[in-house]
């Protein structure tokens, strides 16, 4: 029994990702001790919030056998319209309304994705490429192109919300952003949904084998509607958090974010063909990418080399997980 669970542990993608994360942290820490300072660690955690929430959405879509590259556009659309509306009514209430609004916009846009997908049987890559660019274009043509920096007070207050804050001896401040809790809660929620409910099993099932899932009795169409709307809603939440944390509503923000997020999800062990992946793996993938991108100055990599280093580490990491999973597949067959 004991040896069996041990073997399982070694076979798990998450275990190797965690090892990689620890090794990288130790390496960066060895080069520059400041890596382990609370300031740096808290700031790395803060950097995972937005990418992490996006990644949870993309994880769902990828597990269901699809792909979504429209979510950054949806996020920008949702937060920009929300902010513009709240500014026009001079909103000063709680943070709840902005979140709810942005989330609803995102969910509705996600629903459009799902409806297009199911009614025309198109490839998700093409559909989401189309909706993403249409939404961006609509936003810039009809809503606005100006960056808004005078955000409604509740959003500014949210960006200053910390669950830990301390003034150091030299007068500088260390703080841990409260927004991290939102990522944490969402991650737990989605983990439970995927592992413990029929809904979650259905999503794994349609990603693994759609025909088989249908025969077992899953309503494929309805599951898809759910997955894309949910991913849209997550994009809306991530968007409003991003906008609040950087304290700007910039309609050309987050461009190219999809690549980084998809890379994180795939790195986390989700299979692009669907049916495979976990929340824990996704979060580890995000952590790995944030760690790499956020440690280059600490290690002293000059600007020209930063992209090279990011690319090389990504190739190595994905290569390692792919090689390892193929080996364990072969082991299973033998």
């Amino acid at each position: 029994m004991n040896t069996l669970s041990k073997n399982r542990l070694f076979q798990r993608n998450e275990f190797w990702l965690l090892c990689l994360l620890i090794v990288l942290s130790l390496t960066v820490g060895a080069v520059n001790g400041a890596f382990w300072s609370a300031n740096n660690l808290f700031s790395l955690f803060k950097s995972t919030i937005v990418t992490g929430i996006f990644a949870l959405g993309v994880f769902l879509v990828i597990v269901s056998g699809g792909i979504d590259i429209s979510f950054p556009a949806f996020a920008v659309f949702s937060f920009y319209i929300t902010v513009k509306f709240l500014l026009s009514i001079k909103y000063t209430g709680t943070i709840l309304l902005p979140f709810l609004m942005s989330m609803t916009f995102g969910a509705c846009l996600g629903l459009v994705n799902a409806l297009l997908l199911s009614s025309f049987q198109l490839a998700p890559l093409i559909v989401t490429l189309g909706t993403g660019s249409a939404v961006t274009g609509f936003l810039r043509a009809f809503v606005g192109t100006a960056t808004l920096s005078n955000l409604p007070q509740p959003l500014i207050d949210f960006s200053r919300w910390n669950i830990y804050k301390k003034t150091l001896a030299d007068g500088s401040i260390v703080s841990f952003s409260g927004a991290f809790l939102i990522l944490l809660v969402l991650a737990i929620l989605i983990h439970v949904m995927m592992k413990r409910t029929t809904l979650g099993r259905g999503i794994y099932a349609i990603g693994g084998d759609e025909v088989a899932a249908k025969r077992v009795g899953f309503n494929v169409k309805r599951l898809r509607l759910f997955v894309y709307s949910f991913t849209g809603a997550l994009a809306g939440i991530a968007g409003i958090i991003h906008c609040s944390l950087i304290r700007l509503a910039n309609p050309r923000d987050l461009e190219g974010a999809e690549m980084e997020v998809i890379a994180a999800v795939v790195l986390g062990g989700a299979s692009l063909t669907g049916g495979k992946g976990s929340v824990a793996g996704t979060l580890l993938g995000v952590a790995l990418i944030v760690l790499i991108k956020g440690s280059l100055i600490l290690v002293g990599v000059p600007s020209d080399w930063q992209k090279v280093v990011i690319g090389l580490v990504l190739i190595t990491a994905t290569g390692l997980t792919a090689w390892r999973s193929r080996r364990s597949d072969e082991g299973g067959r033998a």
């Binding site: 300031n39 740096n40 100006a146 920096s149 401040i173 950087i246 304290r247 100055i297 002293g300």
Partner: protein
């Protein structure tokens, strides 16, 4: 039969287009496109205001376009399309000087007038007009930053892209000024690249604050650094300990000027730069290119007495920069 009708109608339409096209130029309506690095950011929104205003004043067909994201290949593509459309002149703000050389040569070979801004080393251009001498602009940033830092301590410079010519020349000018006037100051690390994205500015400056305990000043090249640095300094409670002076717009950095996180922002009015470029392009098309000469007055603030480069005869400088601090930030609405 059908095919024949189609072919004739297409031919007819083409010739109609040709006639109307040549007719419009005959009336003296020039078609001039202003192609900027990236569309939809506050900076170039302001330039669009200038271009649109000037179109109304002159009655010519003037408009502004740019890629949705800062990308050299996309800018080349836009210029290719404009050449195919047969515009009379192009006013260009290059994202990458080198990447544009071939396509600008093609434009000039096709008889299109090419006016360039923010790229003093461009080879294939009829005329290059700079708002100011780039080294002098950077030196003025460093002059203020050095005074705030008391002439001592480490500083860090940012550029949008390491291939962005003007921004790198500003930073060259800033560093040269520091070496001459503030010998006790030093760069903590080589200039960093932040891709004109406030989030990246914020994250990298926070990381640099951890990595370099001796960092006391930030010299910002691209506009978003003013917001990113402001947020990082405010969050860490480093007002009065770490200083920022650099390019910025009041609408983006106003809140940080007001709360003392940053000390001064410097800019030139992109609307005027847009008007000047178009004025010169029209002059060239009308055969009046000799209005652009050393000491000439182009009739816009900062361009009352332009200076010709002694070595490169088609390169001219204005002297139009504005410094905004807490005291005069209310005077600007863009």
């Amino acid at each position: 039969m059908f095919r024949k009708v189609m072919a004739t109608s297409v031919l007819l339409m083409c010739s109609l287009l040709l006639i109307t096209g040549s007719a419009s130029t005959a009336e003296g309506n020039f078609r001039i496109a202003t192609v900027v690095k990236v569309d939809g950011i506050a900076w170039f929104d302001r330039m669009r205001v200038g271009v649109d205003e000037y179109a109304k004043e002159t009655g010519h067909d003037l408009w502004m376009v740019g890629p949705a994201k800062a990308d050299a290949a996309e800018q080349v593509q836009i210029i290719e399309d404009l050449i195919a459309q047969g515009v009379d002149a192009l006013c260009i703000v290059p994202f990458s000087v080198e990447a544009l050389e071939p396509v600008l040569k093609k434009a000039r070979d096709a008889g299109i007038i090419v006016i360039v801004h923010e790229a003093s080393t461009q080879q294939n251009a009829d005329l290059i007009i700079e708002a100011f001498d780039n080294h002098a602009y950077g030196a003025n940033i460093m002059k203020q930053l050095g005074e705030h830092m008391g002439g001592e301590g480490g500083y860090l410079c940012t550029v949008g892209s390491l291939t962005s010519k003007s921004q790198n020349e500003w930073i060259d000018g800033a560093i040269a000024y520091q070496k001459e006037h503030f010998p006790n100051m030093y760069e903590v690390a080589p200039r960093i690249e932040t891709y004109d994205d406030a989030t990246i500015d914020y994250q990298k400056i926070k990381e640099a604050l951890v990595a370099h305990k001796d960092l006391k000043g930030v010299c910002g090249g691209p506009m978003p650094t003013s917001a990113g640095a402001g947020l990082a300094i405010e969050e860490r409670g480093l007002q009065g300990k770490v200083f920022f002076v650099g390019t910025g717009l009041p609408s983006i950095a106003g809140q940080y000027l007001e709360n003392g996180a940053i000390q001064a922002i410097q800019f030139w009015d992109p609307a005027i730069a847009g008007k000047v470029m178009n004025k010169i392009a029209i002059a060239f098309l009308e055969g009046k290119q000799d209005i652009v000469k050393d000491q000439a007055d182009l009739g816009f603030p900062g361009f009352e007495s332009i200076r010709q480069d002694p070595e490169k005869k088609n390169l001219f400088y204005g002297a139009g920069w504005v410094v905004v601090t807490k005291e005069n930030v209310d005077e600007y609405n863009f």
